[in-house]
Symmetry: C2
Subunit: 685 residues, 2 copies
Amino acid sequence: MPYTELDQKAINTIRVLAVDATSKANSGHPGAPMGMAPISHVLFNKFMKFNPKNPKWINRDRFVLSNGHGCMLQYALLHLFGYDLSLDDLKAFRQLGSKTPGHPEAHDTPGIEVTTGPLGQGFANAVGLAMAEAHFAARFNKPGFELFDNYTYCFFGDGCAMEGVASEAASQAGHLQLGKLICIYDDNHISIDGSTDCAFTEDVMMRFEAYGWHTLHVENGDEDLEAMEKAIAEAKKVTNKPTVIKLTTTIGYGSKLAGTGGVHGNPLKPDDAQNVKSKFGFDPTKSFDVPQDVYEQYGQAASAGAAAEAEWNKLFEAYKKEYAAEGADLERRLANLLPEGWEKALPVYKPTDPAIASRKLSETVLTKLYDVIPELIGGSADLTASNLTRAKDATDYQPESTGLGTYAGRYVRYGVREHAMGAIMNGLAAYGGIIPFGGTFLNFVSYAAGAVRLSSVSQVRVIWVATHDSIGLGEDGPTHQPIETLAHFRALPNCMVWRPADGNEVSGCYYVCLTSKHTPSIIALSRQNLPQLEGSTIEKAIKGAYVLEEKPNADITLISTGSEVGIAVDAAKELKEKHNIIARVVSMPCWEVFDAQSKEYRLSVLPDGKPILSVEVLSTLGWERYAHESFGLNRFGASGPYKEVYDKFEFNPEGIAKRALQTIAFWKPVTPLRSPINRAFEQLI
Amino acid sequence: MPYTELDQKAINTIRVLAVDATSKANSGHPGAPMGMAPISHVLFNKFMKFNPKNPKWINRDRFVLSNGHGCMLQYALLHLFGYDLSLDDLKAFRQLGSKTPGHPEAHDTPGIEVTTGPLGQGFANAVGLAMAEAHFAARFNKPGFELFDNYTYCFFGDGCAMEGVASEAASQAGHLQLGKLICIYDDNHISIDGSTDCAFTEDVMMRFEAYGWHTLHVENGDEDLEAMEKAIAEAKKVTNKPTVIKLTTTIGYGSKLAGTGGVHGNPLKPDDAQNVKSKFGFDPTKSFDVPQDVYEQYGQAASAGAAAEAEWNKLFEAYKKEYAAEGADLERRLANLLPEGWEKALPVYKPTDPAIASRKLSETVLTKLYDVIPELIGGSADLTASNLTRAKDATDYQPESTGLGTYAGRYVRYGVREHAMGAIMNGLAAYGGIIPFGGTFLNFVSYAAGAVRLSSVSQVRVIWVATHDSIGLGEDGPTHQPIETLAHFRALPNCMVWRPADGNEVSGCYYVCLTSKHTPSIIALSRQNLPQLEGSTIEKAIKGAYVLEEKPNADITLISTGSEVGIAVDAAKELKEKHNIIARVVSMPCWEVFDAQSKEYRLSVLPDGKPILSVEVLSTLGWERYAHESFGLNRFGASGPYKEVYDKFEFNPEGIAKRALQTIAFWKPVTPLRSPINRAFEQLI
């Protein structure tokens, strides 16, 4: 069907809405929405399959605006298609408490798939979303039952194209041959510093070809709607490669400043805003003025989407009859419920069991859960044999043509791409019905800090298996020994940092990570062997902290995590034998979970009246929150056999005992000696 | 000259030393050294210009082992060429206190240019080193005085090639046309997870071509020394593009496990080690057995290097006579001294001066220092107009052919490449005679966490101009508002985190950042205007914390940073007027610098006997170290006009006053009430 004036009117409506909203907010980015309105119109009306009345329909096409600063584009589209986003919501763009924040947030706004804005992230999320579709299709589709066939569309700009996280993800997507991933590169030649000539002169399309992508170019992205439609149709024909369409556009199309950086991140001047409206046939004196026939046109696409979902629901009903087991499994996963009784697979340990590295204990959990929780889909950033993330009989997630696995496989070879792994996991989790995990050394989770932050902001369940979690990794030395890493992620809101001390704590930790549906977690695991502790249980560990060794009339509480808990237990023995000092020992695998317990419980673990010494062989930053004194490592480590490195820094029973005695003496004169749990006021949450 | 048996013997000596050292340590990576011994031999003997007796000669060729886990290669080379690295040092590989740690550390080992190991970093450092050479050449070379013409050579493997930071840096290097950068890609097809077929199937050379690089391929990197020599010679001929040479090698060449992952990260089995030695004509019963004629051959190259430096020194002497001003400037920079009296350029403010955003105050400092400190070379990751990092009359650092600047320019357009910017700055600093700075939003310094960490580990002076440092950025919302960022970098050893409160503090902050030769810094700066404070001076600010408002008989100390100091001052007024409570106010622009002051001074700022409340609108993590109670933001922020966001979270005089009253009441019964500066024991440093 040829494009009509109504199509042009709809496109200009999007442009004018972006102008109005940014003007009203006196803040925001009109340029990208004005430039990308045409492609959005074509994509959403001619190709996208979605139901605004049920934004969570599982087989919907996914749309990601990786250049999230252009979110007025997305908000305008959502509004016009009849999502739960009113004109008043658009008027409240970038205002406190609105559903239209400065960058799109998935948990706030219906129809937003992933939280974007930090550049490059959305692109990598889209790779994860496309991986998820391929996985569900391979796992659940049956002859006559094409339950999963959705596409993932992603817009990205020069900023995203420059970011390493997007490069990593593009390389991965090419390797994985994700045919249903179609990305549109807004080639507008402008970034914040001006023309891309000043910093970004590579041949982007050749780079994507090198990654194994199918590439296309639409030269007139401002006006040539037919070419845009043709390109997307071409993209869909290539099924064994992701496609990138280079769309040459004019940023701020219609503005007097079109094609310049001036229109990127600032509202248009009032006269320019009026000029845009006049030029596009809108009344320059009105704002937020949507023509009724545009609503009607967009309403039709929305109705078609609702009908498509209804069809799909029928298909799924039939599927459940024909394939009862698969149907039930899928239904459970879509309802975001874990399999009944899954937790029985978690191993339990006795103190007489042998000492085992916690990374190895984690491997046992992942192996036992592999058959029980089919939505667990994990991998490693090229450290499989070190992270121990692969269940013995796992199948790799690979395109069949590689001969190395299938899309139904559940073990992902992420390559040395930590940042992309983090962002891809966010996409996998956002698809629904998948619990992603990924392994690397704890020190290199920092490479993915940008993605971890967005896991937390967007409230997705993503699990990092972060091994080699301290100077205990030994010979690799300071470049690989984390010091600041736990403090970093403990300071990040809505992120659980776990550092389990033995087998029961590893089991407890996985229990909480898997049942916390809206919180990512980082599990810090040791390279070296750790003893099974007397007094640890899963039930205690899931409280975040607990008394491992209670003693009446104790002189001090030692509080510790992970590999240092066993040493603290030995220090308590040393204190008793050599100094007749009684030390209670508290194990604290997770601060955030402990913080969520009742104050009564917290005070029972860290009671008033005795000094508390924390013991953890990383930065002490923040331990003052739980302890009167902190023994840690506020310097870089050293390369050497790990026991020697521990001794060098006095992380042995003697070193702890010495500091315990100093702590007791120092705090003796203070009355009342209150637990740090007691505070003058509550923190805002 | 054709290659002889002696060349082969030298190559095999390197291989055998790598086998011996990893076997003795029972730890380490023999595979890469065994595979890359031939290219190293060719490069170091036929091309590299260096003087082992003076590893710091400024015009030496730079060598970076980006695949730093293969460092026994580098240690063997340094030893053979006669650097201060003995056979005993090689025998102490990966042992505590040795000069041969598990990954190469620049500040520990003579001849190591940059600290590598975390993948991708070294490659990006090399880009910085090559940029530095081009800059010095453009700035100082004169007809007949080619003072600067060194090459930068970099080895990297598949791991580095997969990392986003290296992709970003490669794109930047292509744009910058760095003809003297020659990188050798160890195409051994193996990473830790096994064959690269499982995750990395892109066309790496095509990708580099897309970046604008010159590409070459040596098919037999195990044996074809002539082809290697020819390729490097070809690379040197292309002067307007960096070159990457794909060198196809066999990892662990000579081992029974050659070409497999088994030889990547584990020492060879004893019988295999003997097999290697026998195969290469070495006595299998001996270890660390270096043939005398190999020492002699390598000694010749070393002598040639010493002669080259002597020549250069003569040239420089003549230069200083002919170009006295340039010569003196260069000499000063090479001596790592700032220009006499530079600090007089730092602006000073009075309380009556207008309120100005600290990012704008930073711009004034950078502009004033631009002419005074020519070694300041900075830029921004595509946020120039937001970070305000560009002095008004700066020239861009660009290849001349772009028409946008010259290599003598000092403003770098980094593009949206935060991680590469961080790693390139490490390279610029490592070259010597340059003080690099780079701008982005504080929140996105996290993208570069891997590089920042290495700034700290390797003790280089790198300055991050980190603007938009809190919810004070307003409308952009939670995706851009840092919460955890200050805690993260405060927990990083040897990293200064500054958050100045007004003009004098900004000046003081730059003073310390510029005079701290071995420490990177992150300067957190506000988007919003801040008042000039009564009581601030440069002299006080450079102590890290100081009493802004001293008051006799105070009931409480308020300690704050950056944009909240002014609000704390207003809160003190509010407390006095409404509650007759006397509050002292302490401003604390930098924790790390304050920690370095005498205990006496620290206790004068934070004395015993009164409760202390910290006020900073980011994570409170770690503030317990200085305050009895902490008012901060342990949740994500919100999108809206910044004053409304501040009010929402009660960061206003009333909100602070309320918590001050709670703090006073809560701590009243405790005696003695000690300053948190008093501790039971000293931390290990």
